[in-house]
Symmetry: C2
Subunit: 303 residues, 2 copies
Amino acid sequence: MSPTGRFLGLDIGGTSVKAGMVGPGEKRVGASMPLPTQIQDGPEVFLDRLCDYARSFGPFDAVGVGCPGVFDPGTGALRASANLQNLEGRILGQEIAQRLNLSENQVRVDNDANLAAYGEQWHGAGAGRDNMCLLTLGTGIGGGLIQDGRLFTGPHGMASEVGHIVILPKEQGGHPCGCGSAGCLETLASATHVRRRAREAGLTEDTVELCRRAEAAAGPERELLHQVGRDLGRGMSYVVSLLDITFFVIAGGFSAALPQMIEGIHETLSERRYGTPKPDVVRATLGPDAGWMGAARLAGDAR
Amino acid sequence: MSPTGRFLGLDIGGTSVKAGMVGPGEKRVGASMPLPTQIQDGPEVFLDRLCDYARSFGPFDAVGVGCPGVFDPGTGALRASANLQNLEGRILGQEIAQRLNLSENQVRVDNDANLAAYGEQWHGAGAGRDNMCLLTLGTGIGGGLIQDGRLFTGPHGMASEVGHIVILPKEQGGHPCGCGSAGCLETLASATHVRRRAREAGLTEDTVELCRRAEAAAGPERELLHQVGRDLGRGMSYVVSLLDITFFVIAGGFSAALPQMIEGIHETLSERRYGTPKPDVVRATLGPDAGWMGAARLAGDAR
């Protein structure tokens, strides 16, 4: 990152946009109240509001933008976004640059989980780790990969789709996934699907209460979260086998359940024994700031 | 690769060592009769013989060496090798450099499947592809990954272990694997395990005959190879999801069965639909030369 510039990070979520500025010497200059997304007002209104919000931070040299979904590596267009379908097809970088009177190379856009990984590896749980994988456990499961200290997004911008690794094929009873496949990791271990699994088992759907009961005593709640941990560990084992990455950061709302899942995670991770060290699995530390901080870092990267 | 040097490639296998030289302008100067490995004579005798063999090619600027197994990224010691246990713990690069009167940075050693991938991406089926995955189907299953035109081996030298991805967990009946786990891709689709599966199904263990029958008529042979293809596709789908790689090269003796497996491969690959293009799956073209050519290329890489 340029040592003297001021870089704004915007993290567009389905519910709110979080933002903050990073100034000279990589100092966090300030965050602000999140902006409600209200995408139902339409893309034009949303983008205008987003850029007003960006301007409210004062002058900056470049802006980074995190957004759920996948981007076309050629055009930069948002190809598909489950939570922001209104924005599909839009070339966000271009539209934001025009509204903010910036050149296009002053605006950089990437997937929100990728940027959360980039933030956590900068000033969070992954600081000092050149190779790590972040998983966000929320409505879905997002993944971000850091290789040799750099964000790895792949030749088509489609790498690190850990949430859409198939764990339980359809013929073995895998649940349908929003991506069109079945039995993806997301259908077993996202907050949404853990609530579904709890409901199907006759347990509370309130994940906070589910964790509390799992912690308090042995019983079906503890068993469920242990099994969710085992499923997560299966998914993570593929990251170990293929990428030789052994440091995992768990983020997102449902990461609060990590203490109840960690034993299950290590159980299935350890089934994969072929030379790599035992993986470390830790909870993210930047909370809702990871995304905008990663975006600000991306904005500051030399281009 | 340096445009003027002469680089020797050695590919150590359980049965024989294959070798060849690449000269100025990346021209293949010549290969030679393979050297029988005969590792049972002991590591000292083997290494002496290997270096005599290397000298027989005339002068060269550097040598690359491929060897099955995994290497310690710190010391370069061979950590584990199923087929060459005699060499475990040896720092091959150092021992070969001493015997050949070379400096240590004139000798580079890597895993044989990695170097086969590096060879195929240079002058074989992957020429011009910046991102690819090679799978060798033989006694086991080896994997090699190319990212952005470079060999990707991971922070501990343990990346691309596609053969040891768990496809069928133990509790679902996965077969024990040589790595200590169960249900690895290798236990479903290596030549060795396809012979086992054929035997268990009451079919011929001769894989050439198995392919012939599968091609000739519908029946249990065709069904078996289709299922092996489906298993391979499962393993490859993780490479697509995590690495965004959509070009696969199938090498090794059992790659001859690719026409009988390709439909099954694409069936399970297509279960993973989340934006990436349909993967290409092709057979390797360099045959037994891929390994030494990749090793010679590695030797010529700027250091």
